[in-house]
Symmetry: C2
Subunit: 166 residues, 2 copies
DNA sequence: TGCATCCGGTCAACCACGTTGACCACCTGC
DNA sequence: GCAGGTGGTCAACGTGGTTGACCGGATGCA
């Protein structure tokens, strides 16, 4: 037993305690999801997957995506986005292509390996959200989702803000 | 108009769209709150306030808190926590004291300036949560809070997990 | 009581990941 | 056709974290 525990009871989370700031709940829940996701990816043999890969894979799924677009998505400088892209190219997840609309651009597209990882991520993701539904019920998960969505819609007028936490 | 916009419609967030991963919603909402909080602190003359200060101030409010406890709270090494504590001491927000229970420990307590900052943070925080209530209604904010809380309670058995995002 | 062990704190070296600034090549609109 | 804007790259650097080694006080047990 630690001194801290001797001095006071360990902090306990009780339902809807207004003392816990919303930001802390969001941070804890986010970290929980991301850590769990990457542990399960590792368990399935996907090592060296960085937290932000998922967002990039998702963006590349629908259309080729440039470094500048990745930068806007994550909320980082274009140089940082280029380094991330470089790492993902090195990991064989995406490939730099050429755009027929703009000779400067080197849009990223998924490789077969990238598509496989994306599929695994989506599978694990579905597991995690199913876990949430087991814990609090499908309707309350939906309430969390819709509440957060509408707050963001109202704050950013429908556009998606950058995704990278502080 | 950018090339990206020419290639496809800009992404738009629609209520409870299951395509947007929960982790992304959490990340965006967290970032939104933290950025907004620090902009408002800056507007009130509090510069150089780092995002994690708030959690440390909150921990120190109730009882003196050691670096090791800060490390556990944030989910970082004790050395990193010590550097953070050092910065907060330098900013005049906390003071290193001595424990009468353990001569090794240098627990942190709030200074008058730290208490003032904490009060401002709580005030701004209340504003932000009021903004959420304006956007989606008090009951839906409560639903988000209680949903996240219960997910975390179920995942960590009531103990608060580390707060620092990835 | 004495000793092995544990634990809070600190120092130092290092590194991951981001930043800013300068620059080139290409696109766009007047 | 040219000015300004934009995608991409190179290089230098800074912040904030890490690991590893260590000291000295606390703790538990023979």
């Amino acid at each position: 037993m630690t001194r801290a525990a001797e001095r006071s009871e360990p902090p306990v989370l009780t339902a809807a305690d207004p003392e816990v700031p919303m930001a802390r709940l969001l941070a804890m829940a986010y970290r929980h999801l991301v850590v769990e996701l990457h542990e399960r990816l590792q368990a399935r043999g996907w090592h060296d997957v960085r937290p932000q890969y998922g967002y990039v894979l998702l963006a590349c799924r629908d259309q080729p995506t440039t470094s500048v677009e990745v930068a806007a998505l994550l909320g980082v400088s274009k140089q940082a986005a280029a380094k991330l892209a470089e790492a993902m190219v090195g990991a064989g997840l995406v490939r730099r292509t050429r755009s027929d609309l703009d000779a400067r651009a080197r849009p990223l597209t998924l490789t077969a390996r990238g598509r496989r990882l994306l599929a695994v991520v989506e599978e694990v993701y579905a597991e995690l959200e199913a876990g949430w539904a087991d814990a609090i019920g499908r309707s309350r998960v939906k309430a969390v989702r819709s509440g957060l969505t509408d707050v963001l819609v109202s704050a950013y007028d429908g556009a998606l803000p950058p995704v990278r936490p502080i």
